[in-house]
């Protein structure tokens, strides 16, 4: 007799089964026994179960597949890193946008989040202006112009809450003026130098600067628009402190 014939006969013994009545009765008995001895589910077991599942999944999946998945994840990470250097209009720009959105999602401080959004939108707008200034690509002009306006709108919208916060902050300068006016000065009055709000020097108002950038862009002064947006970026990163007019209060005789 060959091994094959023998194994075939052995396989046929798998037909041996327990009595069905016993099997069903035992099922009921077993169920009642385990019901009496059941223990409550511990929440930590779910975490362990998840870890066990991950471990089992790793074992079950063939090693080559696991390696391929790892390579894919690494490649995606490389693409993501490479995408950080892309500009609007590039094929990988969408990856950069996704990355920026991920950064925003991980920022929980609302003010910091808003500042980041403004920065990202401002960067996009600068790059669009740079592209149009450098390449002069008519085919992309309309699309990029539309994108530019969208980015500026984002900056304007997001900059309002921050601007309002700085405007509503109470200053001590008014109090200082009053104080200076009432203490130890002769009656010839006080001379208070004009505040910077009334100055005709370049505006520090981000809204105004953005509008100026928009005007320059519409006039196809892309370099000028880019420069203006850089000033906005600098202003946002280094806000100018409100001038202290109490030191300017002088008395004249």
């Amino acid at each position: 007799m060959t091994n094959q014939e023998l194994t075939k006969q052995l396989n046929s013994l798998s037909a041996i089964k327990p009595n069905q009545t016993w099997k069903e009765t035992n099922r009921e008995i077993l169920y009642s026994q385990i019901s009496n001895s059941s223990t409550p589910i511990i929440p930590e077991k779910s975490l362990n179960a998840f870890l066990v599942f991950l471990n089992n999944a790793k074992e079950l999946v063939a090693q080559p597949t696991f390696v391929l998945v790892s390579i894919f994840l690494i490649a995606f990470g490389i693409v993501g890193t490479r995408a950080a250097y892309t500009r609007p209009g590039d094929s990988l720009f969408i990856a950069r946008v996704i990355s920026e959105k991920a950064q925003l999602a991980m920022t929980f401080n609302e003010e910091a989040k808003t500042k980041k959004e403004i920065q990202f939108a401002n960067n996009h707008a600068q790059e669009i202006a740079q592209i149009l200034a450098d390449e002069n690509n008519q085919a992309q002009t309309e699309k990029l112009a539309s994108d530019f306006k969208s980015e500026l709108n984002i900056v304007k919208t997001k900059i309002k809450p921050i601007a309002n916060n700085t405007e509503t902050k109470p200053t001590d300068n008014d109090d200082a003026k009053v104080f200076s006016a009432s203490v130890g000065h002769d009656n010839q009055g006080l001379q208070i130098s004009p505040t910077e709000e009334k100055a005709t020097t370049p505006s520090n108002d981000p809204h105004q600067m953005i509008d100026e950038a928009q005007t320059m862009f519409d006039q196809k002064d892309y370099s000028g628009a880019e420069t203006k947006l850089k000033e906005v970026s600098t202003l946002l990163n280094n806000p100018t402190p409100t001038p202290d007019t109490s030191d300017n209060a002088t008395s004249t005789k």
Partner: protein
């Protein structure tokens, strides 16, 4: 075992670890027949085999809930390990050796193919009885390996885990077991 079956079994194992009674009963339905067969070929008595099998499943539930026997990677391996130790306990209690005689006509034999005619069924039954008879004459180690591999359909890896041997050792055991059984079968001729 197919990959999908493995995934289902691991999910079942996880659910049982979370005290899911329904999952345990599903496992019972899945493995009761083969656990019974395994025990039956060790003790050669249907009623004893059924009693031991009942105890095996209850012990398995308690082991899982108490987080013992953690070295069992699969649910099936857990059931078989407990079945082996339960049979050993049975032998100790009854002071029986491994010598057993074939004298049990109550075991249900369900031919896989119901379309065969009566004569064929008799022939199959006769062949099965012959093999069963000779199988019981083998030493326990050989019989266990043959039952696990060729009757219950476990893989070499699973048998190695259950018996705490290496896969190479299991393959050698199977080779020797088949040779011994073939010699026993050949003696009649």
């Amino acid at each position: 075992m197919k990959l999908t079956d493995k995934i289902k079994e691991r999910r079942l194992f996880r659910q049982i670890k979370e005290s899911d009674k329904e999952a345990f009963i599903t496992a019972y339905d899945n493995y009761a027949d083969q656990i019974f067969r395994f025990i039956y070929f060790k003790v050669n008595n249907q009623e004893e085999a059924q009693d031991i099998a009942s105890a095996v499943f209850l012990k398995a539930w308690n082991h899982v809930q108490n987080n013992s026997l953690t070295e069992a990677k699969t649910l099936r391996a857990l059931f078989y390990k407990i079945a082996r130790t339960s049979v050993i306990d049975y032998y100790r209690k009854n002071s029986r050796g491994s010598a057993i005689s074939l004298n049990d006509s109550e075991v249900e034999i369900d031919p896989a193919d119901g379309s065969q005619d009566a004569l064929s069924e008799i022939e199959i039954s006769s062949d099965m009885e012959k093999v069963q008879e000779k199988l019981l004459e083998l030493k326990d180690e050989y019989r266990e390996a043959i039952v696990l591999k060729f009757i219950n359909g476990l893989s070499t890896g699973e048998i190695a885990e259950i018996t705490s041997k290496s896969q190479g050792n299991v393959r050698i055991t199977l080779h020797r077991a088949l040779k011994a059984l073939r010699e026993l079968m050949g003696e009649e001729k």
